[in-house]
């Protein structure tokens, strides 16, 4: 695909999506070699979703470069998911069971799903926790979060503890992989 002039979100419909899909599929298939056709199709669709999101919010100058990078990152995410799965789902040395319950289906990095559910839970309740979670999920440590929010560190941590408690209560009656991933299975 040729490089495109700057594209805005409004021009989303001008992108030849079928061509983009073929390009992404080709990138993933030849450079990263997924283990089977189903994985390739899933990753292609995932990369296409990411492309959609980027195109909608940013101007794109080099379409080929963008798709190449998205294909690469999609592959990295896939590898990361598998690595995290191995770390958490394999049988631990001293235990017969997996360390945690497996997530419901392979629908993305479980950590990302945990973050999404947490953010959405707090947003839906309009709790002040949502603002804290957003800043923390940007990759900040708690001290930075406290500075960004202009509040004492101890106050932020105390409030966040209450937020976590609220989330646990919300999950309490719903034993699922999310509850297990909060880390209280053996307690």
């Amino acid at each position: 695909m040729e490089s495109s002039p700057p594209l805005t979100a409004e021009r989303e419909t001008r992108i030849p999506w079928e061509e983009a899909r073929r390009f992404l599929r080709e990138c993933i298939a030849t450079r990263h070699r997924p283990r089977d056709a189903a994985t390739l199709e899933d990753l292609t669709q995932e990369a296409l979703t990411r492309l959609l999101r980027v195109v909608r919010r940013e101007d794109v100058v080099n379409m080929n470069g963008l798709m190449f990078e998205i294909a690469r990152r999609t592959w990295i995410d896939h590898v990361r998911r598998e690595k995290r799965g191995r770390l958490l789902l394999q049988k631990a040395q001293h235990d017969l069971d997996p360390v945690v319950s497996p997530p419901d289906g392979d629908f993305g990095d479980p950590l990302e799903r945990l973050r999404f559910t947490t953010l959405e839970f707090f947003r839906a309740h309009r709790a002040p926790c949502h603002a804290i979670a957003e800043v923390f999920f940007e990759g900040q440590d708690w001290k930075t979060v406290a500075i960004r929010m202009g509040r004492p560190y101890t106050a932020i941590r105390k409030q966040w503890s209450r937020c976590i408690q609220a989330l646990r209560v919300g999950l309490g009656a719903n034993p699922s992989w999310l509850a297990a991933w909060l880390g209280d299975r053996t307690e």
């Binding site: 979703t49 009656a173 991933w181």
Partner: protein, 320 residues
């Protein structure tokens, strides 16, 4: 070092990464990491790749879930399912992504996959009634009186509306009758099932696409009406609703965020009824409107509302 400690450390890896350990547990977690080389290696493996491929930090439905939507919508469960549904209701980007991928931007209500809350969980969580609808998604519908809440008397109960809608399918049949003369008669007491119907387009709010079928749109509690001709009133057919005894029901039509007409619906609406919504002395001009169906608990119950999801069907041939 006890084996349990290593297992617990691994169990808490994800919670730590998501910031969901409280201070005491986090301290114990970090202490163990400092002492145990194997666990430190596992920690580094778990955390490292975030820097190479940053994700969206939970602000949207994960792309991988959208990419596998047909499977995800049938198997995601519990709180995660409720939150995906809630997100889809308000995020036009995620809905557009799904439509672009050829998927339907909805997640059905499947009883076996929905949250099953413990009684009174909301009180334990908040100590008071919620300020928004999402808290109610997990709470069984209570009949009878509800507690008084502060704030706006008409707080939309969007997510609760969805949950309720799944068990109380309200069907609204819309027909638009054009103005027949400069001094038209008042709307009839009973709907007339004959006569011309103005061209009408129905769109779910927030999605710039026409409903493809009679199925409920992504936003079940509001619909956008596009009137292409001047019309005096709408005829609504409301299906059976699961309303608590004493609750009132009303329909609102909004233009540009302003309610242009609102009328209570008769008590019989809970069993299904046809009503007329309109303005006897002024016609609706062509343009876009939004239609809302709102249930309000009877006083002195709390003054928030339930917005029921509904679907729109075109009048069957021969009834126009």
């Amino acid at each position: 070092m006890a084996a349990d400690e290593h297992i617990r450390f691994r169990q808490r890896l994800a919670a730590y990464a998501a910031g969901l350990l409280d201070e005491g547990k986090e301290e114990a977690f970090l202490e163990h990491r400092a002492r145990c080389e194997d666990c430190r290696r596992a920690f580094d493996d778990f955390m490292a790749s975030d820097e190479a491929a940053p994700t969206e930090r939970g602000t949207h439905i994960p792309a991988a879930m959208l990419a596998r939507w047909s499977a995800a919508r049938r198997s995601v469960r519990g709180l995660e399912r409720a939150m995906v549904r809630e997100h889809l209701k308000r995020c036009s980007d995620c809905r557009a992504d799904l439509e672009r991928l050829g998927e339907t931007p909805e997640i059905e209500f499947v009883a076996a996959l929905e949250m099953q809350p413990a009684p009174g969980w909301r009180e334990r969580l908040f100590g008071s009634p919620p300020s928004s609808g999402a808290a109610r998604v997990a709470e069984p519908v209570k009949r009878g009186r509800r507690r008084q809440a502060a704030g706006s008397p008409w707080v939309p109960w969007v997510l609760g509306g969805w949950a309720t809608a799944a068990t109380a399918a309200a069907v609204i049949l819309l027909t638009v009758r054009p103005v027949p003369s400069p001094s038209p008669p008042a709307p009839p007491d009973r709907p007339v099932a004959t006569g011309p119907t103005a061209p009408l387009t129905l769109e779910p709010v927030g999605v710039h696409a026409r409903l493809r079928s009679a199925a409920r749109g992504p936003d079940g509690s509001e619909l956008r009406l596009v009137l292409s001709e001047e019309s005096r009133y709408l005829e609504l057919e409301v299906g059976a609703l699961d309303l608590p005894e004493g609750d009132s029901l009303r329909a609102e039509l909004l233009a540009g965020g302003v309610v242009v007409v609102a009328r209570p619906l008769p008590r019989a609406a809970r069993e299904g009824v046809r009503v007329i919504v309109g303005q006897p002395h002024r016609a609706f001009t062509p343009g876009q409107y939004r239609l809302r169906l709102i249930a309000r608990p009877a006083p002195p119950a709390r003054a928030d509302t339930t917005e029921f999801g509904f679907r729109v069907v075109r009048p069957p041939p021969g009834t126009r």
